[in-house]
Subunit: 218 residues, 2 copies
């Protein structure tokens, strides 16, 4: 994938900014399992995912981990370039979960472009807000774990009712059943899917790991 | 306090932007205990704190709360204007912990200025990154609670050694004792202070709530 096809606000850049980015960004591949970025100890630059899948996580001194979010094709990662913003005072590690192709933008280059371009700065804001939202969602899960349990229980119940592992049901319908917003259902189902508990296709939810769903629901 | 004295990047604004903000920002007071902003249900605008103290927190469906961070004089709050950015998909509530004087900037006005001004957009980025850092710190506390326990135990031990409630010790010295960075110590001590467990002055740490420190250390 060409750099200009994947950089998010390419059409809002000046000719000079395009030139600078094109001349400095470089392509890399990362094999499955490769640690791309390890907290504050390196500052590899901004990562644009062309293909594959990355996992962002934090880990404790004792080596316990928790996944913060995942990055797929067309996603960009700011925190692999945390040295570029002094207010980013936390360390996120990044690992390839599937073989990945990436563009890397050196941190100092992105910083310079961002400081001069309202479009790039505003895009960066939206990006940070998205990641922030994912982390806030995670905090709520950690603190109050209620909706995930409710949803797991609901899926098991529906499956028993239907006598089927593949539920023909929309996210809207589940939301209506559970008295919540469709977005909340979609987000949680995607999380279930990323954990291998369900498989999602248009208009259906297939239960894959009934044992884990049962444990969750309890 | 005049608006131009408290708006963070005033000198980097155009005359037009200054005019727009000056004509639309307005002053408010909030008495101690007043709920300023309640998640997504309102969008009061960006809050600039002139004096007093605000608390940002999230709460569960069952009414349990957790404090995310505090805002003091000269701090700005983005999340009271979360409607201005579509990627902010979480709800933070805001409460006055002490009588407060505030400037409010309407969300749509700030959004328009930010979209046109790289300076304002970059400032907003740094602000969001700061809050993000505070929340990431909180996650680590929640998940792995290790350093707070260690620090509480250390302070109690020092107090026993000195036979005093007011420890003459610098953050640097504590860091050296505990094999960590000074910033980590400072951040945790400030947290202890905000929770009323210690009082900090230059070169000393006074133990205020020995009972809670003991509970924490265990």
């Amino acid at each position: 994938m060409l750099f200009e096809q994947i950089f998010p606000v390419w059409n809002k850049l000046t000719a000079q900014e395009k030139e600078t980015l094109r001349n400095t960004a470089f392509k890399r591949t990362a094999a499955k399992g490769r640690l791309m970025h390890n907290g504050a100890s390196d500052c590899v630059g901004l990562i644009l995912v062309c293909s594959g899948q990355l996992r962002a996580f934090i880990s404790s001194d004792e080596g316990r981990e928790i996944t913060l979010y995942r990055l797929f094709a067309h996603d960009m990662c700011l925190f692999s370039a945390s040295c570029m913003m002094r207010s980013i005072q936390f360390d996120v590690a990044l690992e390839a979960e599937k073989d990945a192709e990436l563009w890397i933008i050196p941190a100092d280059i992105y910083k310079t472009v961002m400081e001069g371009s309202a479009a790039v700065a505003n895009y960066t804001n939206e990006l940070m807000a998205s990641r922030f939202s994912e982390v806030m969602w995670l905090i709520e899960q950690i603190m109050w774990k209620s909706f995930d349990k409710r949803l797991a229980a609901f899926l098991l119940e529906e499956s028993a009712v239907d006598g089927s592992e593949a539920l023909k049901i929309t996210h809207d319908r589940i939301a209506a059943h559970m008295g919540t917003a469709r977005e909340v259902v979609t987000r949680m189902l995607r999380y279930f899917q990323s954990e291998g508990m369900v498989a999602l296709t248009r208009g259906s939810v297939e239960l894959i790991d009934r044992k884990r769903l049962n444990m969750l629901a309890k």
